[in-house]
Subunit: 336 residues, 2 copies
DNA sequence: ATGAAAGCGCTAACAT
DNA sequence: ATGTTAGCGCTTTCAT
């Protein structure tokens, strides 16, 4: 049992000051005589004193820890966002508790409750929807929540994202102009806010502009996985589809390879545009024409916004407007 | 200021019991009369009481939080490991604070100190080496540390991994048997333990078995990125290399595409075997022949081991032997 | 500029 | 089975 812990008391005694003074030194409070400060600092170094963040958290009601809820850490899209979040969090001295909210919403509520129980100072939520119970949880939460890389049905929660509707419209219009009669839309669940109110409307708007009749069977729901994309290749070809806008890059890569393996030439006989702009898009052969977006920045800006909200002690309703970042479009080899 | 917090006191008063009883109920202690328990539970529900994990952590000296140090969250290899870790952590009711330790070791020490300051109950380290200062930090740490998906110079720290030396030897031998005279080894820094004491020796052993002279210029150091792999393609071809074992999949994908773009046919004129077994290996075209390994399990087993070490209150030196998981080999399209 | 003292919300002996 | 009482290690008034 050699694990004797050096506390603020040990330091105080050794430096002949009160614990309050040690606390002041540790926290950079200016009201300490330079000599005293130096003496305390010397003792801290000598004893290798490290403030206990848990005790600090209890006393100050701030943990300098945020919670990050992510659907799937192995999806490059979320990993890139997480990188942006982490960098800014580190910059502001925050740590992040990362939790996988298995796509099924039932666990998301538990995950979030647990995060609040741990007294996180804020939460970044990467999900496409918030069920009622979770919404309630967020509303009565004592700390701010920001949605990154998506948007949800809860209008009170600020989000950082791109204009998915416009991006989808541009991609689909591009495909339509290339004389494709049947352009598919491959997304996740149709019921999520991002798909229901952004991607599908964007898709329809493009069809409308091109005077093409909407065909419900051209919307394919998948699970943002490579495998599902791969399997859908055959089905799409059978339906006479000759082009597709795919929201997720893994699915797009799967679709591409599925087509190639079925001897359907991309882009000659089938054009693909993908939407998440991860590195996967340039690794596949042919490379994937894509909507481009600043993934890292989406995460970074979300984290910046969160720090702002966290320091606004007042319930001062800072502005709940979504922050829309610019997207682009890059032609690669999967389109003609 | 409506954010009134319900504490264990509030519940105790409302239920006409002492806080100790409430604590017992919350912690599932059996020494509570069923009726009392029900009454307390009812009040907890009514008041929507949630135990404050920070206060709990301070009093019990356990935070049910572990620290996970990861070099790059956007690298599929680490993301897969992290998934395994998270699943098991969740199963055991642990949360994980995930921190990116930018490859440069200088920050790793700060990251780890911070983790300890936050009183994590254990740490999973995913890195290839531990500099002296960090080693000292781990040694005097009050909580266990486990290395996942690699191994380090510090023999006192248990690791969960595959036999990198043997795996490398098998891959290189395979390449040598295909009549390749110049087989390159593309790894990270030659100085890391995993490369210096496992991959390079494995590479040499294979050469030795095949009676091929070791050529130092055939070892290429990179940074596990796609871009670097891509750039090295040209260099390798100029050196007359006709096959390579690449430890990281991103680099392997880069090398493959670099070769393809330079009109070098893989596998006809150049064979590639990759080593991390991420999904990337089956997404590239041609697909990549690989060492296979249970990535998810490496993370999961590491976390299981950590839980075991965390519950061993005694300094009981449980066994510090590395846990070696089985690896395999899968021929795909990048070899003949 | 410094110290004293009261918590923060809980766990964990120790009583009873 | 239940209550009492110390802390856990720190921040934060409030004095001085």
């Amino acid at each position: 049992m050699e694990k004797q812990s050096v506390t603020i008391y040990t330091v105080a005694r050794e430096a002949n000051v009160s614990m309050a003074t040690v606390s002041r030194v540790v926290n950079g409070n200016q009201n300490v005589k330079p000599e005293t400060r130096d003496r305390v600092l010397a003792v801290i170094k000598k004893l290798n004193y490290r403030p206990n963040a848990v005790a600090r958290g209890l006393a100050s009601k701030k943990t300098t820890t945020i919670g990050v809820v992510i659907p799937d850490i192995t999806n490059d899209y979320f990993a890139e966002l997480a990188l942006g979040i982490d960098d800014i969090a580190t910059m502001y001295k925050y740590n992040m508790i990362l939790t996988n909210s298995d796509a099924d919403g039932s666990s998301a509520i538990k995950v979030v409750q647990n995060l609040f129980a741990k007294q996180v100072d804020g939460v970044i939520f990467m999900g496409h929807d918030i069920e009622n119970e979770l919404q309630e949880e967020f509303n009565k939460a004592a700390v701010p929540v920001v949605v990154a890389g998506s948007l949800t049905n809860d209008k009170n929660i600020p989000s950082v994202r791109i204009d998915y509707e416009q991006a989808t419209k541009e991609a689909v219009s591009f495909l339509l102009k290339h004389n494709n009669k049947k352009v598919a839309l491959l997304i996740g669940s149709r019921q999520t806010t991002i798909n229901k109110f952004n991607r599908i409307p964007g898709y329809k708007a493009a069809l409308n502009d091109a005077h093409v009749q909407f065909d419900n069977s051209l919307i394919f729901e998948a699970d943002d996985s490579y495998e599902t994309g791969y399997k859908l290749a055959k089905k799409m070809v059978e339906q006479g589809v000759t082009a597709a806008f795919v929201s997720d890059d893994s699915s797009a890569a799967g679709l591409l390879n599925g087509l190639t393996d079925a001897h359907v030439n991309v882009p000659k006989d089938f054009e693909i545009i993908t939407g998440n702009d991860t590195k996967l898009a340039t690794i596949t052969r042919p490379t994937l024409t894509s909507i481009t977006q600043p993934l890292y920045d989406v995460g970074a800006v979300a984290m910046r916004l969160l720090t702002k909200l966290m320091s606004n002690d007042d319930d001062d309703e800072t502005e709940t407007h979504p922050i829309i970042l610019q997207h682009g479009f890059e032609e690669r080899q999967s389109t003609r």
